[in-house]
Amino acid sequence: MGSPCLTLFALLCLVVGTAARPFYPLPSKVADGERQPLQTSRPYNIAHRGSNGELPEETTAAYMRAIEEGADFIETDILSSKDGVLICFHDFTLDDTTDVAQHKEFADRERTYEVQGANTTGFFTVDFTLKELKSLRVRQRYPFRDQKYNGKFHIITFEEYISIALDATRVVGIYPEIKNPVFINEHVKWPNGKKFEDMFVETLKKYGYKGSYMSNEWKKQPAFIQSFAPTSLVYVSNLTDLPKIFLIDDITVPTQDTNQSYWEITSDGYFDFIKNYVVGIGPWKDTVVPVVNNYLQPPTDLVARAHAHDLQVHPYTYRNENLCLHFNFNQDPYQEYEFWIHKMGIDGLFTDFTGSLQKYQEWTSPLSSRDSSNETSLLHKIAVMVSPYERV
């Protein structure tokens, strides 16, 4: 008579017991309070498209390698699929970094669209659903980089990218870009009249990203929102107080949304305006210090003026290959880091080679002296051994 009750009770206890006690927490889950925080004492190491010097850009593998190598932030470009899913992808066409050309089933998808005033032909992400995009495989963009991972990895979504950062065993920031918003909003429509920028911020909020620069909330989950389109940045300012970075292209390229020239958007007047919305700028490094015959010329005053307006400066993009290094640096990427960090005084660097920047920073401005502690303690031991003999 009592046994069904007893059984039910036992079952209830079991349920309660298992729900309340995670007996064996997943090894990768580190309790929040224990995670090594973001370093903020030296310029940010921003893994540009992940560790894409070594692995195909914007893939899970590239981001995980970057985190392993010590990135402060992992960076990405957010575009949209045909069915409105936010994905990590740099080009608006799939041609250069995927095997789309080998997929016969998509042969009829090639299109020509106008993008930022130029007619471009190719396979556009906005013409493929997420499912179709996931059937593609990514490849290394540059022929002189390691090709052995071609065809192994697929395109990931914004949410998958965020999960990679949140799953890391130390605090790793994210640095997503609202990419080509004018073009995206033209081709992709979301329900309830939402725009690309709305979906972008919603995704961040869904995962708990919030807080102004250096607030406690921000330091738990650091994020910078970047864009070449100033109106998008102004627009999202109403939706989130996460810090924003205004990207500045080469001197010949006008902004895609406001059609303003390089000179307009880098003027003091413009800095006065934009500083109310962004915490920094992300210029192309060859506009900060112009180059002639592969030699650096005297620097412009862009960094000084930005700093005078309380704007950080995060130039792009640093690459190890000698063809990307100006002769002043003697084909040595570390000498380039040295110049930009110590001579130019910038606040963050977008690099394709996270590991190299990390080594440079650890060797020249280490966060802790834990490397020398072994030697120091050994010397201490020797000193202790020697001192009794000295007295005699």
């Binding site: 010097g53 070594e54 002189f144 980089r145 390691d146 052995k148 015959n293 592969n294 190890n320 290959e321 000698n322 063809l323 002769f327 003697n330 084909q331 040595d332 990427p333 570390y334 000498q335 080679f353 590991g355 190299s356 080594k359 060797w363 020249t364 490397d371 020398s372 030697e375 120091t376 050994l378 010397l379 020797i382």
Partner: protein, 392 residues
């Protein structure tokens, strides 16, 4: 009366002139040139970490084997400056790597030498060009050096002449700190075939004579040697054995790729790296200089398993100084992520080499400076002090 006056003024003039001459000659001793630092005060060469050997000078930045390339290497911290010694038609020892002048000088543009182009057999291969051994020193000096690789800085092309062995030595001796020299007896079989000295002496004799003339002598790490460090290198073992009777300066046996035979003894790579050969040659040389891709053979631009070459050499008391380390990504295997510092780390810390021939002296110097903490350096100094006591 007039003749007396003329005579007297002549005498006065001569005496004044003589006085002026003797005073200025004497004054050269009273006020030594500011750049000359007495030997005793010169900072000694480091001997506790792998040697930074400036391969052909700092030829990543300046045309190889020129005075500025060597001076740049010294400024950048080289332990040794390296050179290749051949002979001109009139028997003067000069610094030049190739047997021909085509790749590193403007000889092809010189109409006055158009008829000097010829074909000789060099190490069993017919080679066409303008040969060093067909030019007198005076003619050679009218040529101007150019940067060998088109992806390196071309701005110094046409500015610097080739230099002699003696000029190379002077550059080292004039340095403000102790800088070693690392000259090679280059292509002795070919040079001795084409250049005859009237006293029946050979390239090897002239080579050692020059070193002795400038005071180079002493076994490795002896007091004499530490004042003026010097390694003599060659691909021709019989040349190294031959000069063993003339000087006790340390010698280095260079080993070429696996397909190349020694130019004097026609031996294969397998022969000269065999246990028995090493047992023989170790009595004449204190180090081997192998091509690094034979020490750890690459596959698909990835380094796989190491051979036991370094272990064998070390077991027999021979150092290992591989060549050549270059910053450009086309020379860096993918394991190194296009980062020359990762390559240095691998060879110095994983493979334990004792010296490195590098085209980029500055990069190797930075790597070594940044990764030897002062504690580590002190411990290494203690270790070398202790081991030298063990030896004595």
């Amino acid at each position: 009366m007039k003749r007396n006056m003329a005579f007297i003024s002549c005498v006065v003039f001569t005496i004044t002139l003589a006085a002026l001459v003797s005073v200025s000659a004497g004054r050269a001793l009273m006020y030594p040139l500011p750049s000359s630092v007495p030997q005793a005060e010169k900072k000694p060469m480091q001997t506790f970490r792998a040697y930074n050997v400036a391969h052909r000078g700092s030829n990543g930045e300046l045309p190889e084997e020129t005075a500025p390339a060597y001076m740049r290497a010294i400024a950048e911290g080289a332990d040794f400056i390296e050179s290749d010694i051949q002979a001109t038609k009139d028997g003067v020892l000069v610094c030049m790597h190739d047997v021909t002048l085509d790749a590193t000088t403007d000889v092809a543009d010189r109409k006055e030498f158009a008829d000097r182009k010829t074909t000789y057999e060099v190490q069993w291969v017919n080679t066409t060009g303008w040969f060093v051994v067909d030019f007198t020193l005076k003619e050679l000096k009218t040529l101007r050096a150019k940067q060998r690789f088109d992806f390196r800085d071309q701005q110094y092309n046409g500015k610097f002449p080739p230099i002699t062995f003696e000029e190379f030595i002077s550059i080292a001796l004039d340095a403000k700190r102790t800088v070693g020299i690392y000259p090679e007896i280059k292509n002795p079989v070919f040079v001795n075939k084409h250049v005859k000295w009237s006293d029946g002496k050979k390239l090897e004799d002239r080579f050692v004579e020059t070193l002795q003339k400038f005071g180079y002598k002493g076994q490795y790490l002896s007091k004499d040697w530490l004042k003026q460090p010097c390694f003599i290198q060659s691909f021709a073992p019989s040349s190294l054995v031959y000069i063993s009777n003339q000087t006790d300066l340390p010698k280095v046996f260079l080993i070429d790729d696996v397909t190349i035979r020694t130019e004097d003894t026609n031996q294969t790579y397998n022969e000269i790296t065999s246990d028995s050969y090493f047992n023989y040659i170790k009595d004449y040389v204190m180090a081997i200089g192998p091509w690094k891709d034979t020490v750890v053979p690459p596959e698909d631009n990835y380094l796989e398993k190491s051979t036991d070459l370094i272990a064998k050499a070390h077991a027999l008391g021979m150092q290992v100084h591989p060549y050549t380390y270059r910053n450009e990504n086309s020379f860096l295997h993918f394991n190194f992520h296009q980062d020359p510092y990762v390559e240095y780390d691998y060879w110095i810390n994983r493979r334990g080499v004792d010296g490195l021939f590098t085209d980029f002296t500055g990069s190797l110097h930075r790597y070594q400076e940044w990764t030897s903490s002062s504690e580590k350096q002190l411990l290494q100094k203690i270790a070398s002090m202790v081991s030298s006591r063990d030896r004595s």
